[in-house]
């Protein structure tokens, strides 16, 4: 089963990378209110069903993929 994890800087956490990207877009003439930069982690997991896969990947997020102090995460099970 394939899963995608989206890791984002938590709201309220300063994201200088996002600010730099936002400002670069401004230089290109795009008007963006704000930009935040996170990361995507694609995984293949061995699980009998979607619920089991989700539970497994959430454990991975808690233990390694995201640092809960400054990052939030979202798990998508692609199937």
């Amino acid at each position: 089963m394939r899963a995608t994890v989206l890791v984002r800087p938590k709201e309220g956490i300063l994201d200088p990378q996002g600010q730099a990207v936002g400002s670069a877009l401004g230089h290109l003439g795009f008007e963006v209110g704000s930009a935040r930069v996170g990361k995507v982690i694609d995984l293949e997991v061995d699980a009998p069903d979607e619920a089991a896969a989700r539970a497994e990947v959430e454990k991975m997020c808690e233990q390694l993929l995201a640092n809960p102090l400054m990052e939030s995460y979202e798990v998508e099970i692609v199937g």
Partner: protein
């Protein structure tokens, strides 16, 4: 009887850079500096451990996130929980945060620029094994060199855990925090590099005050364990 030479381990991870400087500085300060390879599951007989600066595991995922799983790091977690003295410098600080031995996390510098210069630091506490040779309120000048040194403090961090503060903005850290210890006070992490400031020839010898404090604390521990 001559006081024993304390044995202080310095860990080398794949990507560590400052391990040799740390070994040299500790030897110069009269410690027996012992090299520890990251694959060692059991630490040799040590009175203190130093996690050096560098870019362990290429800083993949987050700085220090992968080094946390090294056998040596697991052994250091046990060592620290038994009251062992542990100092993490720069990447070592990042590893200690990721390993859960220290509160908080180090994020990308607010400026997005790598900062490499001497910075003034204020000593907040002189009652730790790492600052006994300093006085509270004293200013130390020690170099930093990092891209990910912005300290993000957890909500409710006990202000007593702040040991060193930048005397001027360095990287956007919460409350200008440059070094924090655990609640028990036997683990310290800091972004500045004391091992690069142990000789006036290098621009400052203030780092030697921190490392000499560490050597002294390790010596006391060695004596206490010998006489126990």
């Amino acid at each position: 009887m001559a006081s024993p030479q304390p044995r202080i381990g310095v860990v080398t991870y794949p990507g560590s850079q400052d391990d040799r400087d740390a070994l040299w500085a500790l030897s110069a300060l009269d410690a027996e500096a012992v090299h520890v390879w990251h694959e060692e599951r059991e630490l040799p007989d040590l009175d203190a451990v130093v996690l050096p600066g560098g870019f362990s595991y290429g800083d993949y995922l987050r700085c220090g996130a992968i080094a946390r799983f090294s056998p040596a790091t697991q052994a250091i977690v046990e060592f620290a929980r038994d009251g062992g003295i542990v100092l993490g410098i720069c990447n070592g600080f990042q590893i200690l945060c990721e390993a859960g031995l220290l509160p908080g996390v180090l994020a990308r510098n607010a400026s997005l620029r790598f900062v490499c210069r001497d910075v003034p630091l204020t000593v907040e506490r002189d009652d730790t094994p790492f600052t006994s040779r300093c006085s509270a309120g004293q200013t130390l000048v020690i170099p930093v060199k990092h891209g990910d040194g912005r300290y993000v403090a957890p909500a409710g961090l006990d202000p007593r855990q702040v040991v060193l503060r930048y005397a001027e903005d360095c990287n956007g850290s919460d409350d200008d925090i440059a070094g924090v210890c655990n609640e028990a006070g036997n683990v310290l992490g800091l972004m500045p590099h004391p091992e690069h400031a142990v000789d006036p020839l290098l621009g400052s010898a203030d780092g030697a005050l921190l490392l000499a404090s560490l050597v002294e604390a390790a010596r006391s521990r060695a004596l206490a364990l010998t006489s126990a």
